[in-house]
Amino acid sequence: MTNLVIELSKYLMLLIMVLYTGLNFYVLRKQDVRWQNRVCRKQVFLVFLLQFLGYLIIYLKTMEIRMLIFYGIQVLFFLIYFILFKTIYPQSSRVLLSNMVLLFSIGLMMLTRLDVDKAEKQFIIGMIAAAVTLVIPVIIKHMKALSKWAWLYAAVGIALLLLVWAVGDTNGGAQLRISIGGFALQPSEFVKLTFVFFTASMFQKGQSFGRIVVTTGIAAAHVLILVASTDLGSGLVYFLSFLFMLFVATRQPLYFFGGLGAGCGAAALAYKLFSHVRVRVAMWQNPFSDYEGKGYQMAQSLFAISSGSWFGLGFYQGVPTTIPLKENDFIFSAICEELGVIFAICLVLIYLGFILQMFWVSTWMDELFYKIVGFGLAVMVGVQVFLHIGGVTKMIPSTGITLPLISYGGSSVVSTMLIIGVIQGLHLMKQREVEEIEYAAAAQDEEDPEEDFEGRR
């Protein structure tokens, strides 16, 4: 009987995921907000269903009451969060909201299966972060001074990164964290936000050549400190995000391609200079050249993905625990192994929909500052997802980076939730503006109905 439930759930979970992904794109069909909200309600239902099946299997496999309690608290929390968020921000983006909760809950499910202690820790941090996201949109909407603190952002960002570089814990060859009272913080995750805000405020004031040079210099300082701390993955995320932001702000493809060229040169130089870069490339080319050593995690990752194949071995049915760093840098492989590649492809599509939504919000913005903030954050998330998934599947050399909202890591979860909070804030700003215009347009229409109004959505 247990087996039957587990086997059936395997295909049901896949079906839920496919349906959810379908809805995620279906929702883009119409601009009618009410209609969209109705579609999103279906998504929310699917999120709870997926979570239910996941924890049902976990319980059947472990028979631990602890799992049921954990599940119960999660359901309660998600319900409260949904209700609160919708009540406080009736005009928030529901798609973003349901995507955030889906990804976070998939992460928790996977972590519970891999290491329940870590899952609980992740959940607590996630709850706090989620609570913070309730106030972020208000701040974004009302604090008009946000675009005036460029130097503050730069100072905080560089100081934090320098701190890690100076006193950071060495973990797996990279200095990523600083420990404060038993908590390990990964500042590069938070500096993402200050970095984007810095760039946006700089370009808000103008795009003169001098300003571009100064901005680029400070951005380069961020990247160089990260590279010096051997946090190559974050370095790459910052670098690419900056290039894209520069491109959008200046509308000069030349800057973009020039930067890309310089980046390639720097990468070649790094390959020559640093042995850890060469190791990553060598293990990307052939993880079996040093199976017992440096290639082990890559090989295990590929074993996991290939053993899972299209349908997966079934949740809680594989052996993803053999992959080193399975909870963070390699969680995508664990998902492929147990939930299957089709599930994983759906996940990629959901992330794509997620960043498309963010790009879309940024196109609505009038002020360049908000536009670049939204755009820059979207690029950050997009590049990070690409590096993580590309890295664990041996498509590109592994850079050791987390999968936003799914991987274990408090800092990563908090920063991604903050990013989503910011985007919700932007969404809100626009929604109000749209309403005002609609209102004005409605008034206008009454007076001379033959005139057509462009700003109407």
Binding site: S307, I345, L356
Partner: protein, 492 residues
């Protein structure tokens, strides 16, 4: 009212202007959006490609043992069949769901097919992940899973030939040793026998006895791939090749007067059974396997170049096969003693070789200088017979030129027509080869070797025979090779 209207018009104009400038920047954002859509689609494409095309290779990697164990709980281990479709290993499930692995030919295929209950060996090991995988219709698979029924694993078809295997097995009889049969053109392993053997059907019952310290027979060792023996006179193939390469114009001018013992200082090299070969040229010295002549050739050779030649032929490295094998060894370096030179030139001394490797060398001669990778898995088929994967022959190395191979072919033919290998040939085909009688311990019979191929005109089959303490290669090993050739070319 009019005033109001004007303000609205102005408002409208500003909004329009703003819309335009917004649109300009948005063009760049939209462009980047396309870039990301492209990147993510590539990622999805890659994931699909990886799963469709490459995942089997990784899944079947021997290091992936933890997950493969998992599969044996889900699938019934598939069958192993010979090239002509006869079952070599299959899993029988009784009414209670108990599985037994059965080997219909018993000990005949013991080492090459291997066993799967006490760890995996032989083909059971290298094909394990194919056997524990399934490619039946997915709908059917889901149905089986829901019924909690195990799914039948895929069938692995090998290159092994039952008739040749039986012939080699019977010809070797009770003696210890090994026989390897290859197709020289493809590297396909047609037969592989090692003795003493064991009955894989009883492996669990006889295990303790086999691995006990009193058992000195090493039944579990596959001598064909793991047994390291001095090559004896079969090594003269390489000595000869090196001599030809160093003296391309005048190697045929070689002559030697053999009086059964060749003396250099305090050392003496004796010919087998103390026969005097008298005045002889190179081809006769090779055909009669004159030790004195080859020891004297050895003294003229450049040994660092000889070392390179041997490495090119695959000494001192793992053979290109997934079967558990030992590397043959050739250890001479620049500064070597006279005695080492004399010994090494005639295949004695520190040189060791496996029967499989010796077969590959003979196969390279037969295949005009191209050494093929030996392989034993031919195809993987689903339960319904659809071919899922087929293995194709692969070149390993070109170890000599076509002309050099032609010379060796002529010389090896002379071994059978005018020399020590006459007993390797039967009716209806012509054999070329080389015998060897390798000394390994004083006071014991020599190990008997024969490596050779047939037919001379169009080589289709290579046989390598080693009989431990069998005596002379010509009389102990060559007839076993003949039995295999007979089976291949015979009517039945």
């Amino acid at each position: 009212m009019r005033q109001q209207r004007r303000t609205k018009k102005i408002q409208k104009r500003t909004l329009k202007a703003e819309g335009r400038s917004r649109k300009k920047v948005n063009r760049e954002i939209v462009l980047v959006t396309y870039v990301f859509v492209g990147l993510f689609l590539i990622m999805i494409g890659y994931l699909g490609y990886f799963t469709y095309k490459e995942s089997d290779t990784y899944r079947n990697n021997p290091y992936n043992s933890k997950r493969q164990q998992l599969f044996s709980d889900r699938y019934i281990r598939g069958s192993i069949v010979s090239s002509d479709g006869k079952t070599l290993a299959e899993t029988k499930v009784d009414e209670d769901g108990k599985e037994t692995r059965s080997y219909p030919y018993g000990s005949v295929f013991a080492h090459v097919v291997g066993y799967s209950t006490k760890g995996n060996t032989g083909i059971e090991s290298i094909a394990s992940s194919y056997l524990l995988n399934t490619h039946i219709n997915p709908a059917l698979q889901i149905l089986y899973e829901l019924k909690e029924q195990k799914t039948m694993g895929d069938t692995v078809k090998t290159t092994l030939n039952v008739k040749l295997q039986k012939a080699a097995y019977e010809a070797l009889g009770d003696k210890k040793g090994a026989v390897v049969v290859l197709n020289p053109k493809t590297g396909a392993i047609l037969a592989m026998v090692s003795k003493p053997d064991y009955n894989p059907n009883e492996i669990n019952e006889i295990w303790d006895e086999l691995v006990s310290e009193e058992n000195k027979n090493s039944n579990l060792v596959n001598r064909a791939t793991q047994g390291l023996y001095p090559p004896g006179s079969t090594f003269k193939i390489l000595t000869l090749l090196e001599y030809i390469q160093e003296n391309p114009g005048n190697y045929e001018d070689f002559s030697f007067d053999c009086d059964s013992v060749y003396e250099v200082g305090d050392y003496s090299i004796k010919c087998s059974k103390l026969v005097s070969h008298g005045e002889e040229d190179l081809i006769t010295a090779f055909a009669k396997s004159c030790n004195g002549a080859f020891a004297s050739i050895g003294q003229t050779l450049n040994f660092s170049s000889m070392y390179k030649l041997c490495e090119k032929f695959g000494f001192n490295e793992k053979l290109p096969t997934d079967l558990l094998s030992n590397a043959s060894s050739f250890v001479l370096k620049d500064s070597i003693s006279v005695w080492d030179v004399l010994q090494t030139s005639i295949g004695q001394g520190k040189t060791t070789i496996t029967p499989l490797h010796n077969a590959m060398i003979a196969a390279a001669v037969a295949n005009n200088g191209v050494m093929m990778k030996p392989y034993v898995l031919d195809t993987v088929e689903s339960e319904s017979g659809t071919v899922i994967k087929s293995f194709s022959p692969e070149n390993y190395r070109t170890v000599m030129s076509k002309d050099e191979a032609a010379i060796l072919q002529k010389y090896m033919r002379a071994v059978v027509t005018d020399g020590t290998g006459s007993k390797a040939e039967g009716d209806g085909y012509q054999v070329a080869g080389k015998t060897g009688s390798a000394e390994f311990a004083t006071g014991k019979e020599t190990h008997a070797w024969f490596v050779g191929y047939a037919d001379v005109e169009d080589p289709e089959i290579v046989v390598s025979v080693l009989v431990e303490e069998g005596g002379s290669g010509g009389s102990a090993a060559a007839p076993i090779a003949r039995a295999v050739f007979d089976a291949y070319y015979g009517e039945e």
